[in-house]
């Protein structure tokens, strides 16, 4: 099972002087169970791309399949099935806390399940589950106003509001943007947990290579409306020219290892986390000293 894009193209305002090709001939597969990152500089087409996943925008050419069902069917009889599939893809926009509108957190999270016409019990069940997944204590928070929370907590409520739809695929657009370091750290952990423990397929849209390096197992890189890279993070980040051409930077850890290498220490460059970098540096230093390098100043 997967989200599959087949030769997807998208043109904004066709036939007007403002016509603009935002996406051109994109084919890609996002496997169920993966944690896929879509990276790209602002204006690279990544926002347009993610809106194809649940039919918010319909491709001008090509097809989008969710679990093998075309979500933009031509025949009227297929529309209901397509709508059901669209809802399998949960969409969390940037600064998602700005979409909260109910008086209490519980009601806000219940908005999705209620719109689907689920029963009271089913809705309550899903609200509890979503709050548990986002590490929000049900009893403590359910009666509170979402507006009385900190930025990081508000964002959790907004994500819970999408999780309450029980999506199989969860698209997160810049989920940690604008949070303070603690908020960032906690949310990254929660996303990890959602993927590893709860087996939600996650599509992380970001221009922050550091977050991508430590989270993703699959990277799609967009540049000028085209897909320029579809690989594992290690392979993707090994192509520095390509990153640079797309207006992106190396993850900070890798940049540091690269600098170290340039200064003459033969370390592997493709370290994605601080932990990996630490081990590599310790290993290389040990090896270098063992192989006849002069001992460090006594």
């Amino acid at each position: 099972m997967s989200i599959t894009l087949k030769h997807v193209a998208y043109v904004y305002m066709p036939g007007t002087p403002f016509e603009h090709q935002a996406l051109g001939d994109i084919s890609a597969v996002i496997e169920e169970g993966s944690l896929t990152a879509i990276a790209g500089h602002t204006g690279s087409g990544k926002s347009t791309l993610l809106q194809q996943f649940n039919g918010l925008l319909q491709p001008t050419a090509g097809r989008v399949l969710v679990d093998d069902v075309d979500i933009n069917p031509k025949a009227k009889k297929d529309r209901a099935a397509a709508r059901a599939m669209r809802l399998k893809v949960g969409m969390v926009f940037q600064y998602a806390e700005q979409q909260l509108f109910e008086e209490t957190i519980e009601k806000d999270i219940a908005f999705g399940p209620k719109s689907l016409g689920l029963s009271e019990e089913e809705t309550a069940e899903r609200v509890k589950e979503a709050m548990r997944l986002m590490h929000l204590d049900y009893e403590t928070y359910r009666k509170r106003s979402p507006l009385a929370l900190s930025g990081g907590q508000m964002r959790r409520v907004a994500i819970a509001g999408v999780l309450a739809l029980r999506p199989k695929y969860l698209v997160l657009d810049e989920p940690v943007a604008g949070l303070d370091p603690r908020g960032r750290e906690e949310l990254v952990k929660t996303i990890r947990h959602l993927h590893d423990r709860e087996h939600v397929t996650i599509i992380l849209v970001s221009h922050n290579m550091d977050d991508i390096a430590r989270l993703a197992d699959h990277v799609l890189i967009m540049n000028q409306g085209r897909l320029v890279c579809d690989a594992s993070p290690r392979e993707a980040f090994a192509q520095e020219n390509l990153l640079e051409g797309a207006g992106l930077k190396l993850p900070h850890v890798m940049a540091l290892m690269k600098e170290l290498r340039a200064k003459g220490l033969p370390v592997r460059m493709d370290c994605l986390t601080i932990e990996e970098a630490k081990r590599e540096i310790l290993n290389v230093l040990k090896a270098v000293k063992g192989k006849g390098g002069k001992k460090h100043a006594q």
């Binding site: 370091p181 603690r182 221009h207 850890v253 003459g264 270098v288 390098g293 001992k295």
Partner: protein, 296 residues
């Protein structure tokens, strides 16, 4: 006398009500003219409240806030707040919510117009300010067509056009992409170095704070720590307890140190860390072909 002087400054929101909240609690600080100060602190630590006092957007509940010798509370009584605000430019977090006019150059002109400068002088000031932030090309653009980094640079130009001597930036890069963040930080550093503008930068990004020559850590409305970036960031554990972080190079350096490597404990930048490690391996002249084969 220091340029910015806070003496036992406290600020209460909704003082006298049940929701009374003491955002700043007995803060005393002095910042010299031409300094570059970074202010760190978790959400709710009082750093934004502090920033708003420097421009007299907020007045002290108790204590004194003096900017270039002008007491903000006294200036408010005599209607001379503009004298303070003209000298202290503010840049806020949300780039969309601080540009007023529908055309870039008109927005930059907003401050000078409020000060009643003659049109010719305004035109010169606007031209110079836009050149300072490299936005001359965009002077006729509508703000909603600019990137976040460009909008923040226009906001900086808006302050510069008032001949400001100090910029207070309240998380100016929080909502920007990496490129926008780099543009804004490059501009801020350049203004500090070339024009000697005093910078007070509130940020959640430790790498940005490492660029300053002084770091102030706020926690629960108080100054929890105050020193050079080197002095502050070596206390990684303490910073994490405040809900903060340290630059990547500092963190990796401290981890390596914990594993028994003899790297200095006050590393700030990538360059310092890599140099320390290379010295440690004792390869001042780079690797020889022999050792490279040896490893391969």
């Amino acid at each position: 006398m220091a340029w910015i002087e806070l003496e036992h400054l406290s600020h209460c929101y909704q003082a006298g009500t049940e929701q009374e909240h003491r955002a700043l609690d007995d803060v005393s600080l002095a910042v010299e003219e031409g300094a570059f100060v970074a202010v760190l602190g978790a959400n709710g630590s009082g750093k934004s409240t502090l920033a708003k006092h420097l421009n007299a957007l907020l007045l002290p509940t108790s204590g004194v806030c003096r900017i270039n010798g002008l007491d903000t509370a006294a200036a408010a009584d005599t209607g001379e707040l503009w004298k303070i605000r003209q000298q202290v430019g503010m840049v806020f977090q949300n780039p969309d919510n601080q540009l007023i006019a529908a055309v870039v150059e008109d927005d930059v002109a907003f401050g000078p117009e409020n000060l009643g400068m003659p049109p010719d002088e305004i035109r010169t000031a606007v031209r110079e300010a836009l050149a300072c932030v490299n936005m001359t090309h965009y002077r006729k653009f509508a703000p909603h067509l600019l990137s976040g980094g460009q909008k923040q640079r226009v906001a900086i130009a808006g302050a510069l056009a008032m001949k400001t001597r100090c910029l207070v930036l309240d998380e100016p890069t929080a909502m920007l992409d990496p490129q926008g963040r780099a543009e804004v930080m490059e501009t801020v550093c350049r203004l500090h170095e070339q024009q000697g503008i005093t910078i007070v930068l509130i940020t959640h990004f430790m790498e940005e704070a490492a660029l300053a020559d002084r770091v102030i850590v706020m926690a629960d409305g108080r100054v929890a720590d105050d020193g050079t970036p080197r002095e502050i960031f070596r206390k990684a554990a303490a910073l994490k307890a405040f809900g903060l972080d340290v630059p990547l190079a500092t963190e990796l350096g401290l981890e390596l140190r914990a594993s028994g490597l003899d790297v200095p404990q006050d590393i700030l930048t990538d360059d310092e860390l890599t140099s320390a490690l290379v010295t440690l391996a004792d390869y001042p002249h780079g690797l020889t072909a022999a050792t490279r084969e040896g490893r391969g």
